[in-house]
């Protein structure tokens, strides 16, 4: 026998206690493992990306990288020093050298430079493009998604057909994003003749996140107590009045929570925009050189994830492309975090206002 218990609640070894300990450590290490992997990914991006985004001198942010368009990088030896220059700078430099040589009456020197595509300049057009894509597609997805969720859970009779529609929507969530890209190309780019355009990208991305938005909106609507609906209807409200005043405000925080996930996905997907909205490179910013205001919607844009893809698929890889790649990823993460933080703040504000 073990030592006699000194008091009533003395700990006794038992299988349940051992199991409790084991399970606790299992769960704990699982959580920490996930945390570790996440941290590694972030650290990698931050460490490799930060040099492209930040500088050691005032204003500490690489404004060129954030505000200019991508350029080719030229790397060459000149008067014994290794020089790196962007496309425009390099051309100016060459002309200057040629002029200098002409003034001295000798032949213009041959500058042998290695060029690296998109490794100089910045990613401003990509930032703009991604923000436009996110805002547009989330607007469409939320409008369509919330409307159909309201219809499915508040208006439609719960028939087998409705269940089937729900199932179909859920399945849609499992479709690979490249399939959405191909669908978008066939439907919007070719059939509707929108060409490679913001509009085509918006709808393609919106359709991709719709399942998430609809499913989550339905859940949020369902979590609003039935009493609010009954109370409202019993006072002589129509269904729409009830939904607008006594249901939707309380479901909105939940809907926003889910759409935050949607935002991250929309911002990060490459495949759906590859054929529908993204340009490898485009000189003009979306608001430049528009003939009609309507043309705005029918132009392609550059986008951060696609830019990462384009830069990364340059072979061979080298330190210059890597810098842009990670810098872009860093900026991308930052923007997604910013948009998500805004939605979270909005959600928390709504939650505080509409709490029960």
């Amino acid at each position: 026998m073990s030592a006699p218990a000194t008091h009533l609640f003395q700990a006794k070894p038992s299988f349940a206690r051992t199991a409790e300990k084991g399970v606790f450590w299992l769960f704990r290490s699982a959580a920490y493992l996930v945390l570790l992997c996440g941290a590694l990914v972030f650290a990698d991006i931050v460490i490799k990306g930060a040099p492209a985004v930040f500088t050691t001198t005032f204003p500490f942010v690489n404004t060129v990288f954030l505000t200019e368009a991508p350029e080719s990088l030229y790397v060459f030896e000149h008067e014994g020093a290794k020089r790196e220059m962007g496309d425009r700078e390099f051309r100016a430099f060459r002309e200057q050298e040629a002029a200098k040589a002409a003034a001295q009456g000798r032949k213009a020197p041959e500058i042998k430079a290695t060029s690296f595509v998109y490794s100089a300049g910045g990613i401003f057009p990509c930032i703009v493009g991604t923000v436009l894509l996110v805002v547009g597609s989330m607007t469409i997805a939320l409008t369509l998604g919330v409307a159909s969720a309201i219809y499915l859970s508040e208006y439609a009779r719960q028939s087998p057909l409705v269940s089937f529609i729900r199932l179909a929507i859920l399945n849609l969530a499992g479709v690979p994003s490249i399939v959405f890209g191909l669908f978008g190309m066939g439907m919007f780019v070719i059939f509707l003749e929108w060409n490679v355009s913001l509009l085509a990208g918006w709808f393609t991305l919106a359709f991709m996140v719709l399942p998430v938005v609809i499913t989550a909106s339905e859940e949020s609507l369902k979590s609003v107590p039935k009493g609010f609906r009954e109370g409202s209807l019993a006072l002589g409200a129509t269904k729409w009045q009830t939904i607008r005043k006594a249901v939707l405000p309380y479901a909105l925080p939940g809907i926003l929570t889910s759409s935050i996930l949607g935002i991250a996905r929309v911002a990060g997907e490459t495949a759906p925009i590859m054929f529908t909205a993204a340009y490898v490179v485009r000189d003009k910013l979306p608001w430049e050189g528009l003939q009609h205001a309507g043309d705005f919607f029918f132009q392609g844009v550059m986008a951060l994830p696609y830019h990462i893809y384009v830069v990364s698929s340059k072979i061979p890889q080298n330190e210059y492309t890597e810098r842009v790649q990670y810098g872009t990823a860093f900026v991308f993460l930052f923007i997604v975090a910013l948009i998500a933080a805004t939605s979270i703040a909005l959600r928390n504000k709504l939650r505080g206002r509409y709490k029960w």
Binding site: G227, E230, G231, L233, A234, L235, G236, K245, Y250, Y354
Partner: protein
């Protein structure tokens, strides 16, 4: 077009019936059922939830401006019948009236051209679980009026005070009208729901076990309120509390397994019931 009481284009004259007709309550306060005119006339009503039949041939005449109590063991169909009276059951998929009719002031409320919105404005409902909106007390009371497009601040203020006084809540909340309705106690919340209901000036108030979640003091307050309300409103109340039925109602209906077993003046049901089942139930021998 015939203008039944609850059709969308309501005949304004119907509104005046209530205000002009004399109170049927007899002077000594104990009304006799014989003189009270019928307001709700339920005839031979069958009600189905999908394949299950929940009500079997109910015939019942609810008298005007009296309190009618529905009693009976759990699952006997009290709530179902109550919710038929303002067509709240329409919200549940697959429900239907199998046979029979419900007439309020002679209008069949299940006929085609009845607008449920008009019906529910006139037949208010207080639920078992108090369900104030997570808005201010003021917003809760004015909810129904705002739905009707009433925005005039003076008018709304007036109605808020009148309704809260009518629900015996004014003194307790007059200093915090703009605080959340959820900050009130359970009993106050239930009275807030009653105030919200009377703010739209219904004719009939349906109450489904309004006191089941309340303590005895809060219950007493609501019962007192019911006594006052019946001067102006017709009340139908579902209750599991025999004393409550005995205390507040004028007539009592006893249901069992979806059938109306006995409907008589409350005194008769409790003192001298005709049906042995009723007797057994009210004396607590089964149920």
């Amino acid at each position: 077009m015939s203008a039944p009481t609850f059709s969308a284009s309501m005949d304004p004259s119907t509104k005046s019936i209530r205000t002009t007709s004399p109170s049927p309550t007899a002077p000594e306060g104990k009304p006799s059922a014989a003189v009270a005119p019928t307001l709700i006339d339920i005839e031979n009503l069958d009600f189905h939830y999908g394949a299950t039949k929940a009500l079997h041939g109910i015939t019942l005449k609810v008298p005007d401006r009296q309190v009618t109590a529905f009693i009976g063991p759990s699952g006997c169909g009290k709530s179902t019948l109550l919710r038929c009276l303002n067509r709240m059951n329409d919200l549940i998929d697959g429900t239907r009236i199998g046979a029979g009719s419900i007439k309020i002031r002679g209008v069949d409320i299940y006929q085609r051209d009845v607008d449920v919105i008009e019906l529910r404005k006139r037949v208010g409902m207080v639920f078992q679980k108090s369900n104030p909106f997570p808005k201010s007390i003021y917003e809760n009371i004015t909810y129904g009026l705002r739905l009707q497009g009433i925005k005039d601040k003076g008018r709304l203020d007036e109605v808020v005070e009148k309704s809260l006084r009518g629900a015996a809540l004014w003194d307790e909340v007059k200093d915090r009208l703009h605080a959340s309705g959820l900050g009130l106690s359970g009993g106050q919340q239930q009275r807030l729901c009653i105030a919200r209901t009377i703010a739209v000036e219904p004719e009939i108030i349906l109450m489904d076990e309004p006191c089941s979640a309340l303590d005895p003091i809060a219950t007493a307050k609501v019962e007192e309120l019911i006594h006052e309300l019946k001067l102006k409103y017709t009340i139908v109340i579902v209750t599991h509390n025999m004393q409550q039925a005995a205390r507040c109602s004028d007539k009592t209906a006893f249901f069992y397994l979806g059938k109306l077993v006995e409907f008589a003046p409350t005194r008769t049901i409790f003192m001298n019931p005709e049906n042995p089942q009723t007797e057994a139930y009210v004396s607590g021998r089964f149920g």
